[in-house]
């Protein structure tokens, strides 16, 4: 309650204080886009900003939101916690009515409090660390699947393929081991069998793993680490006469997997974030994006595009840009279909339904696999 009061008070204060300076015209809605447009992740960040810009242009062309035009403000987080807090403070002081973005989870983390104190609606589009969940004051909504969702998707997929005994192979690092642990626990809790293997990084010969896979008679192999060694493993599995299902995690869904594994990667499945080129609904998005920016949208562009559209939708639904009302409206999102799939939220404001998609290797490239 205290927070609510503070938020309301500061919102009023902001409204009063800044209405003269920045918000001279009340016929526009200011939205902050918090992405790293400089620094190591600038490519992805610029790409996400472009996607938000595209969404804003489309909305404005259709008459805007609540009759007002949307105007974006770039809050460059630089994938750096310090810089992102400054950027967030800047966005707040310029009177934004909502924020979309968030790429590096580490940089998103400290901004949760900044926006939370103001009670501003924050749609987190790419950051997906599970550590963001307990830090969320309630005004932020995550529309990208978290790591736990990938294991859920994987388990669903293996079930649908009639797999009984699953070999899970990781590389001993925290990322691949976490995914392997989550998947193994879930798979075992469903009454199936798991065969665990770990390979050493830099090792080229996986014959021991291959013969364990074959002698244990597994129905499917799940590789949770990265593409370089994944390519080697897939190749050796096929060379070793293994012919059942192979699936790889999102660390291995790079096109380079095909270079290394060659023909062996045909028919391999991969789990992936919703990348534009594989999204059935994204054809016109890709076309518009190319026309506007003369390049292909990157992996997180659709999420940021959805983020802005979702925020606009919530404002329309609330009938106002009042932050508390918009936050409440966001919470009621109920499986409406967006570019990256239907969005609704759990009690923790995370995406209720995994947005991971499945890809299949075909003719040396990934194609969308309808599960």
């Amino acid at each position: 309650m205290k927070n609510g009061m503070t938020a309301l008070a500061s919102a009023v204060a902001l409204g009063l204080g800044l209405s003269g300076a920045v918000q001279a015209q009340s016929d526009r809605i200011l939205i902050g886009v918090q992405v790293p447009t400089t620094g190591s992740e600038a490519t992805y960040g610029q790409d996400m900003y472009n996607a938000a810009e595209l969404a804003a242009e489309e909305l404005n062309a259709e008459g805007g939101v609540l009759g007002m035009d949307i105007e974006l403000i770039n809050g460059d987080s630089a994938c750096d916690p310090q810089q992102s807090v400054n950027a967030a403070g800047n966005l707040v002081s310029r009177g934004v009515q909502g924020i979309v973005g968030g790429y590096c989870s580490g940089a998103t983390m400290p901004t949760l409090k900044v926006y939370g104190d103001e009670g501003l609606p924050f749609v987190i589009t790419a950051s997906n660390s599970t550590q963001l969940i307990p830090a969320n004051p309630g005004n932020a909504f995550m529309i990208n699947s978290t790591g736990a969702d990938q294991s859920k998707k994987a388990v669903d997929f293996f079930e649908s393929q009639g797999v009984e005994r699953l070999a899970i192979i990781d590389q001993g690092d925290s990322y691949s081991q976490d995914l392997a642990d989550l998947t193994a626990d879930r798979w075992e809790s469903m009454g199936h069998e798991v065969v665990r293997e770990t390979v050493n990084k830099g090792e080229q010969d996986f014959s021991a793993v291959v013969s364990n896979v074959r002698s244990n008679d597994v129905d499917a192999v799940f590789w949770t680490a990265y593409y370089a060694d994944g390519g080697l493993l897939i190749r050796q599995l096929r060379q070793g006469g293994y012919r059942d299902t192979i699936a790889v995690g999102d660390g291995s869904n790079s096109p380079q997997l095909f270079e290394i594994a060659g023909g062996a990667a045909e028919g391999v499945y991969a789990f992936s974030n919703p990348t534009a080129e594989f999204l059935p609904a994204a054809a016109s998005f890709i076309e518009n994006y190319r026309a506007e920016y003369d390049q292909d949208p990157g992996p997180y562009a659709p999420l940021n595009y959805d983020g802005l559209k979702l925020l606009a939708w919530a404002m329309e639904k609330a009938g106002t840009t009042d932050p508390a009302a918009v936050v409440e409206a966001l919470g009621t999102a109920d499986g409406e279909s967006w570019l990256t799939g239907p969005i609704s939220f759990t009690d923790e404001n995370t995406l209720a339904r995994s947005n991971f998609i499945i890809l299949e290797g075909e003719d040396g490239a990934w194609t969308y696999f309808e599960n």
Partner: protein
């Protein structure tokens, strides 16, 4: 399902973990096959270690990196010839030959530039020079490839013979056969030819050889030529077999081949072949022990190295000699 890999109706055994029950025999035979493949790589590289140690008493730690360079040269050669003869077996064999010749001469250059001036220096200096050569080769490849994996593409296919659960790929068979041919040729060279005899003589007493009119420098150069060429053959075959190469690929396998040379008795050519095969088999069977698992493979290898050093420091076929440091 990849093209050409239509699965036969799966035959289910009462499979238990660790190959208990019915598939035990097949698991055993499969482990032998895996061990032969690994052992062939180890033996080919171990031969270089052991020959070079034999003639100039140098542990050439750059040898694993010569293997890596061999893989890259083989890759380049295959890219060149594949336009004419394709990237199948013919192309690969031509690539192996080109790589053997080119890297053989690289070995001679390394010996002339880096080791020759150090021959009369203390043993430790030349050992450090070897480490420096290793770094030069590794970082040279790193800067040329930017540390990326290079895909070694061939058209060798994934076919093979299948007996129940035992699967032997054509690639594995050709690889082991090629390694065997190279080793038999080497054995013949060392035991029957003039230079082979000279090589054995130099390894026994260099000064005496010089007095007898043997061109010791030339014998040492030939030793480097052959040792490096064998490593290049192994590197090119490994590239084709595993499908990707990178600048660091020689490090671990170099250490393991060194282990193989020590197990067999460093300085002994037959010992290196035997040591390579034994190490390959030990790794292959060791990882089949249920509670060991494949992530313990390297621990297993180097534990064996320590045991050999403790209980039989001269290796299986090595002869103890008077230390002349």
């Amino acid at each position: 399902m990849p093209a050409g890999l239509t699965a036969p109706a799966p035959v289910r055994f009462n499979a238990g973990y660790g190959g208990l029950g019915m598939p035990a025999l097949e698991t055993f035979l499969q482990a032998i096959v895996n061990g032969l493949v690994l052992g062939s790589f180890y033996a080919l590289i171990a031969l270089g270690y052991t020959m070079i140690f034999g003639v100039i008493k140098l542990l050439n730690f750059a040898h694993g990196d010569v293997y890596m360079v061999g893989a890259f040269v083989g890759f380049g050669a295959l890219s060149l010839v594949s336009g004419v003869v394709g990237a199948g077996w013919t192309g690969l064999f031509i690539a192996i030959l080109i790589s053997m010749v080119a890297v053989g001469f690289l070995g001679v250059i390394i010996q002339r530039v880096a080791y020759q001036p150090m021959l009369s220096a203390p043993r430790l200096s030349i050992l450090i020079t070897a480490l420096a050569v290793s770094l030069v080769l590794q970082n040279g490849a790193l800067s040329l490839t930017h540390g990326k994996y290079t895909a070694f593409r061939t058209d060798l296919g994934f076919g093979g013979f299948e007996f129940g659960r035992l699967f032997i790929s054509h690639q594995a068979m050709v690889l082991v056969a090629t390694a065997a041919v190279l080793m038999i040729a080497l054995e013949f060279f060392v035991s029957r030819t003039m230079y082979g005899r000279a090589m054995r003589a130099v390894s026994i007493d260099k000064d005496m050889c010089r007095l007898m009119g043997i061109n010791v420098n030339r014998v040492v150069a030939i030793t480097f030529l052959i040792g490096s060429a064998l490593a290049a053959a192994a590197g090119t075959m490994a590239g084709a077999y595993y499908g990707s190469i990178w600048y660091f690929m020689g490090f671990l396998i170099g250490l393991k081949a060194f282990t193989a040379a020590v197990i067999g008795g460093i300085g002994s050519i037959t010992g290196a072949m035997l040591g390579g095969l034994i190490l390959g088999m030990l790794e292959s069977f060791g990882t089949q022990i249920p509670w060991i698992g494949s992530e313990w493979k390297d621990v297993f290898t180097f534990a064996i190295l320590i045991l050999v050093l403790v209980f039989k420091p001269t290796g299986l076929l090595g002869k103890s000699e008077v230390e002349r440091m």
